[in-house]
């Protein structure tokens, strides 16, 4: 085995330029395939819906960002169930986004806090990642939730945000409304959010915001706040499965309560799917045209290089045969050359892509849609090896067979 590898290495070394070019070609193509597949992988991952415990999202139907009257909240939370046989969601939560600045009329990054207004207890049951915290963090969160329920002024701020606005737990702050103009609220920072995806956000009690909106007319000559009927951004409802989801969605769609503005009910992935529908042809092309075309090209590149090197070495192959190398052994030598180039170039390229994109660039901003950045999955390393193996095998099988079947007497009769 080792002896073979030595022989193969010697053969590759003889034409370093060609070997290098072949390897480079392989690496570039593996790079492209890896990027394309990473995007597809990401999209597939997003679209693959959990079959159970779905979260349906209710938003305004025709407008982005969604701004619904808070009056919708109660009935939407019940999935618009009216009759005895109607489905009621297992749980629900409302989202009201309150953005505030620490300085009036200033909106620099160091001054802004973006808070989700919600019922405090939903923080532990409905939020992604917060429903299965380690015991210590979970206790802390429960304590904070109790505090928020007692004290409406309480706010939890994610660690990074807290550090960036240069405040500490225990301090009192005043946030001047940015999206709710003239709604300026004082908060007590009672804690931070569990580390992770909410590091940049804050959570407040929704009642505090709604109360402020209700009180607005008193100080403004009886005029309602311009956002008074637009303060509800999303409602999440939890349903056990797809069947229940479609019934709830149907209930909401038929309900006469939501006519101005109209609402729609989607699951996380159906919303994204609808969005991606616009790019369906592009994605289809990436998956079924571009990737295969690249793989075929790659095979041809390798095949070409290996064929040339086999043709050049027909005489040597014949000599090896005279020495007693069997057809199968010559076949392995040639396949081995291709595989060695293909696999190492594939692994190297995928590995380099992985490290450069994920560790060095910190992800790549994707032009389509609302994915902020995307990363190369670890699986890409296997894709690299896989692509290298498959393409180099398919590219070298013909030259390898021809090397194995070199007829000694033909070769030498032409030499003589």
């Amino acid at each position: 085995m080792f002896k073979y590898i030595l022989l193969i290495g010697k053969n590759l070394r003889r034409n370093l330029l060609r070997t290098t070019l072949t390897a480079l070609g392989t690496m570039v193509l593996v790079l492209v395939v890896t990027l394309v597949w990473s995007v597809l992988y990401l999209l597939d991952g997003v679209m693959a819906e959990k079959g159970a415990n779905l979260k349906a999202i209710v938003t305004e139907r025709w407008q982005v960002p969604s701004q619904m009257p808070f009056a919708y909240a109660r009935t939407l939370g019940e999935g618009a169930a009216r009759n005895a046989g109607d489905v009621r969601p297992q749980d629900s939560m409302t989202w009201q986004f309150f953005g505030g600045s620490l300085e009036p009329n200033k909106r620099t990054r160091e001054d802004l806090v973006f808070a989700f207004g919600m019922e405090p207890k939903k923080l532990a049951t409905m939020m992604d990642d917060l429903d299965n915290l380690p015991a210590g963090q979970s206790q802390q969160l429960q304590a904070n939730i109790r505090l928020m329920e007692e004290k409406r002024q309480a706010i939890l701020i994610g660690r990074q945000r807290l550090a960036e606005v240069n405040k500490r737990v225990g301090e009192r702050i005043k946030l001047y409304g940015v999206n709710f103009r003239e709604i300026d609220l004082e908060f007590d920072i009672i804690g931070s959010l569990p580390p992770g995806r909410y590091d940049q956000f804050a959570v407040m009690n929704r009642d505090y915001l709604n109360e402020a909106l209700d009180n607005y007319p008193r100080t403004h000559a009886g005029k309602k706040h311009p956002m008074a009927d637009k303060s509800l951004n999303l409602v999440w409802v939890r349903v056990p499965d797809r069947e229940q989801f479609s019934r709830v969605a149907d209930q909401i769609a038929r309900s006469p309560l939501y006519s101005d503005p109209a609402v729609k009910c989607e699951t996380a992935s159906s919303g994204i799917a609808a969005f991606l529908d616009a790019y369906r042809d592009l994605i289809w092309g990436l998956r079924w045209l571009l990737s295969p075309a690249i793989l075929v090209t790659l095979s041809l590149v390798i095949s070409n290089a290996i064929s040339i090197s086999v043709r050049e070495r027909r005489l040597e192959m014949a000599v090896l045969k005279v020495l007693g190398f069997r057809p199968g052994q010559l076949l392995i030598l040639v396949l081995g050359e291709a595989l060695l180039i293909g696999i190492s170039a594939g692994l190297l390229s995928a590995g380099a892509t992985y490290f450069v994109v994920n560790k060095w660039l910190g992800g790549v901003a994707l032009p389509i849609g609302f994915f902020p950045v995307f990363f190369i999955p670890v699986n890409a390393l296997w894709w690299g090896v896989g692509i290298g193996t498959v393409t180099s095998l398919s590219g070298s099988i013909m030259p390898a067979l021809s090397a194995g079947t070199v007829k000694v007497s033909d070769v030498f009769s032409k030499v003589a």
Partner: protein, 236 residues
Amino acid sequence: MPSDGIIVRVSGVHKFFTRGSEQVDVLNDLNLEVPEGEFLALMGPSGSGKTTLLNLIAGLDRPSQGEVRVGGQLISKMSESQLARWRTRNIGFVFQFYHLLPVMTAYENVELPLLLLPLSAAQRRRQVLTTLELVGLTNRDRHRPGQLSGGQQQRVGIARAIVTDPSLIVADEPTGDLDAKSADEILDLLCELREAMQKTILLVTHDARAAQRAHRIQYLDKGKLVSTEIELPRAS
């Protein structure tokens, strides 16, 4: 080994090649016996089929008709991979143009056939060094073919042919590409090997002086061995 002391027995061999629709007869009902330990020279005009005959005996090709036995084994009926295995141990082939692998050193070229045998690296090493010493190239083992003279390259070629200790050495014009002095040295080497190691040597040559070194010369003409056999005085 066969008991009758005949190492090569070619009987009733026909060989033809088809070129397009045309059939080219190269060997025609050819018979040849080579006793063990003999140094036989094969001569004949270009295109007379010397290489073809050598290929048949070395198991590189199969006769269209007839039988070839070497060392008692009917090699004309073996499969290609059987032949390959058999060649490694039983045949040493020396080429006119040496055909060393250019990317390998002299040492590695000689080691090549040993890779096919179940030997440890140490055993291989010992055998390669012994053989290089035998052909007088001990201090050239790290050179590549391009760094060696023709005569030296042919010594490497001979070392590669004998490193697996085959009983039959076939050489197709081994001196055809060498100057007279180098050619003589190569022939000396072949004679020494024959004597010291009891090898049988089949030498194809155009050079009458080279043929003089053999015990016996056979002429090949129009696909047959011509009967003018001359028993020569033994070469020293």
